[in-house]
Amino acid sequence: MQSTLFRRVTAALTLLLVSGVSVASDWTERSNVNLRPGVTNISQDVFDLHMVILWIVSLIGLLVFGLIMYSAVAHRRSKRPQAADFHENVFLEVFWTVVPFIILIGMAVPATRVLIAMDDSSDAELTVKVTGYRWNWSYEYLAYQDDNDVGIFYFSNLKTPAEQYNRPILKDGLFPYGTAADRVGAEPTEKDSTYMLAVDKPLVIPAGVKVRFLVTADDVIHSFYMPDFAIKKDAIPGFVNEAWTLVPEDATGTYYGQCAELCGKNHAFMPIEVRVLAKNEFDSWIAEEKEKAASGPDLTPFSSLESAMELGQQKYAAACVLCHGAEGQGGIGLPFAGTELMTDPSRVQENIDVLIKGRNAMPSFAAQLTPREIAAVITYQRNAFGNNTGDLVQPADVAK
């Protein structure tokens, strides 16, 4: 993309700077101090540009600060009791207007080249629609090679359990709402290396194939940020933005990103995990997912309250806990622990309706959870948090 000279200069300068500085290759590695070179050609170009501009501003900074330091020492009053008398110099003033201008043109040229390359999303083989919600992402596979109706769609939620992040140090928290006050004084839970990064079901893309992302949002503005691909594209309700990546064949693996536009309470709790598979593995993954999608919802009844509770707990932790609290104590959402809504047997149908259709600020979960999962979540809510109603909701009740 760029001239050989540009690349050589960049490489030399980069080597100089990073010789004392670690550029972490693993996103989860602690305390890295520099931009990530990433794994794609574009992200490498961006990294090169970053290093060049960093060097330029560092040198300008050193020059200016050096002059100030020199002047402060050499021109102090004890050395020079009488100040010189000059306050104009046409040559100097023209010089320091023109030279920065020339440096800027030198920077604008490669930046423009990279920008034009980033803009070209044509000839993508896989198209994935990425939708931001408060507070998770969904991925819909629209087209892959000749298949224009892939029909795979799923949601992706933060995997980190609430007990890992919810650690109020004061009884009731300093500002008492939404926090799990019961956990004060409990033993701290170990945070794993993918804390706040891993999700329950990652986005899967093939290596060596140009992938186009159509980025949009369902409610407020989010931003799809994948540093390793040098992608940051706002997800705006009512708009479809384009971004693309082409991960080289030797760069299979797992990459992480995060939401980069403030979207409300749990802005920090909707990471992006991308699993890059070799092309043949991706082909079998997509075939498998298509088959699952084609077979329709699983309506197998629960054999026991315990099996429904187990699935319900998992789904509650993924989908409900951010608003309704780990102990059902409420927060942005209504409290569940001991409330009439969750203990009155005649309101089971209302529970189902709210989950499927949504109500006020509560979004619909019809797309995000299967009927079996909705049944499990309601069963869990009516039996956990000391509710103990014994109600068992079956998938068939929900599917009606």
Binding site: W27, T28, R30, S31, N34, L35, V46, H50, I53, V57, S58, I60, G61, V64, L67, I68, A72, R76, R77, R80, P81, A83, A84, D85, H87, E88, E93, W96, T97, L104, M107, A108, L115, M118, Q164, Y165, N166, R167, P168, L170, L174, F175, Y177, G178, K191, M196, L197, V220, I221, S223, P227, A230, K232, K233, I236, P237, F239, A260, H267, P271
Partner: protein
């Protein structure tokens, strides 16, 4: 320069000198109103600082320890609003009130009653805004305060905004009215009330930068008022300016907001340029280098600030041509800014330098503001900005230009002109303590933010992945250190207000030039009743 000096309090027999509460409530005196502005902005600086400390306490360790993420968002939002509209802007208006009439030889501001009103709107505006935070923290059911960031992007602030958004809208309208009136006052004063012989190109640079700032304010505050009014009608009257479902456009909001927001950045920093351009020549005992080019550079920065707004929104998906235009314009704005920095260095060059407190703050300003300017140049490079955008790198950038830039220059101004305001020299020992603690802590506070930002930590996160933990810890230590250091300045100001300290002569800084040093210290209640003649 000569001036008619030495009006004493006994001289103003045709004026009733007011006392007590009435003196402040009904004041039409530019000095009293300036004092009110400065104390008010300092109080807001402390309030906004407390909110910043809540943020840093939460971010000290990974995990949610101190506040709920909902409250965290309210803190980031109101911290930003209070600091921008409550601390920096009123502080520079206070300096303008005090110094512009003294610098141009005018007896007062041109529109003294409007001056009174434009100040007294502010305490009400901020009472409304901050009441929403108090209700959120202590009220029954904790109704949320504004929680959508100081940039209040739609639809987070419209369809999804809490009820207190309406308090926010009202309060922003009031701040806007106050700013516009203050700006009109400055323009009228500077254009009409200069002493005989004080031509435009003889005005101190502080007056020039404020004149240009005032034009920016008059141009863009109505745009902000328009944005919040559209929000109001979207929220309550069924319009869809920013709602895609009704045919509106959420990105339109960002264009309107940043058309105000980018000139706003220069509204906050141009008066600082003026302050530093007054202080450096004084302590270098040398004239300002390139006065004319400073004036032209300020004017070109102001003009360019109207055509760079979309660099705040490179990631919204603008067409390539638009993106390129805003990238080039943004890079261009670094040329006049560079001219200013080089001029300051040339002013110091071969001077006879001493390093009294105002000079220390001014030099810290030049160095640290330049750091912020250089990271701004990095952010201008659009392809790389996709990586920097909305990370802590941006947070580091704008805190370098606003805290160690604008606020440091306001401290410089305070130490420089406190002798004139109060009649006593600021306590040297406390001043040194304040300076060195602030200088070291501000860098511990903001420099590591560059690292976590480059490593990929998005801003406005209440909790973060583990690899950001080490630097966030140090940033929080720096924040508490910086916050505590400002208490020293409270002491400095209180001592000056109580007239405790070495008595200041009319011209306490030997190298200083300008009409303000021809009147006694403290400046009498009325000055320049008879205009001085500037040769």
């Amino acid at each position: 320069m000569t001036a008619v000096a030495a009006h004493t309090d006994h001289h103003d027999d045709h004026h009733h000198a007011p006392h007590g509460l009435k003196r402040w409530l009904f004041s039409t005196n530019h000095k009293d109103i300036g004092t009110l502005y400065l104390w008010f902005s300092f109080a807001m600086f402390m309030v906004g600082g407390l909110m910043a400390l809540v943020i840093r306490a939460e971010l000290m360790y990974p995990g949610l320890q101190v506040v709920d993420p909902e409250f965290f968002n309210q803190m980031t939002t109101v911290h930003g609003l209070v600091m921008v509209f409550g601390a920096v802007m009123p502080a520079t208006v206070g300096l303008a009130n005090w110094m512009i009439p003294l610098m141009i030889g005018a007896p007062d501001m041109a529109l003294p009653r409007m001056n009174n009103w434009s100040f007294w709107i502010l305490p009400f505006a901020f009472t409304i805004l901050i009441s929403s935070v108090l209700m959120s923290a202590f009220g029954e059911g904790n109704p949320s305060a504004p929680n959508f960031g100081w940039t209040f992007y739609a639809p987070l602030s419209t369809k999804y905004g809490p009820a207190s958004t309406d308090l926010f809208i009202l309060s922003v309208h009031m701040m806007g009215i106050s700013s516009i009136m203050g700006a009109i006052n400055v323009i009228v004063t500077v254009l009409n009330m200069r002493a005989p012989g004080m031509t435009m190109m003889k005005m101190p640079l502080f007056v020039w930068t404020w004149l240009i700032t005032a034009f920016l304010l008059v141009a863009v505050m109505p745009v902000l008022a328009g944005a919040v009014t559209m929000m109001l009608t979207d929220r309550h009257f069924g319009t869809s300016f920013f709602n895609a479902a009704g045919g509106g456009d959420p990105v339109l909001f960002q264009h309107i907001f940043w058309f105000f927001g980018h000139p706003e950045v220069y509204i906050m920093i141009l008066p600082s340029f003026g302050i530093v351009s007054a202080i450096i020549p004084t302590f270098a005992r040398k004239h300002l280098f390139g006065y004319a080019s400073m004036v032209y550079a300020t004017a070109s920065i102001a003009l360019l600030s109207f055509v760079v707004w979309a660099h705040h929104m490179f990631t919204v998906g603008m067409p390539l041509a638009g993106t390129l235009f805003f990238m080039y314009m943004t890079m261009l704005i670094s040329v006049p800014t560079g001219v200013k920095v080089f001029n300051w260095v040339a002013t110091m060059w071969r001077g006879s330098l001493t390093f009294e407190l105002p000079m220390k703050w001014a030099l810290a300003f030049v160095v640290l503001f330049t750091c912020g300017g250089l990271s701004g140049l990095m952010l201008a490079m659009t392809p790389v900005d996709f990586q920097y955008h909305d990370t802590y790198f941006v947070v580091a950038h704008f805190h370098y230009v606003l805290v160690s830039g604008a606020i440091f220059s306001i401290f410089a101004a305070a130490y420089y002109w406190l002798p004139k305001w109060s009649g006593v020299m600021p306590n040297k020992f406390l001043g040194e303590l304040h300076f060195w603690n602030s200088l070291l802590s501000v860098n511990l506070l903001f420099f590591p933010m560059h690292f976590v930002g480059l490593a990929g930590m998005p801003r406005r996160y209440a909790d973060y992945a583990l690899q950001f933990a080490d630097y966030n810890y140090w940033v929080s230590i720096g924040a508490f250190w910086f916050g505590l250091s400002q208490l020293i300045f409270v002491l400095v100001c209180v001592l000056c207000a109580m007239k405790k300290g070495e008595k200041a002569p009319a011209a306490p800084w030997e190298g200083a030039e300008g009409l303000e040093w021809t009147v006694p210290s403290p400046a009498p209640f009325h000055t320049f009743d008879t205009p001085p003649v500037v040769k």
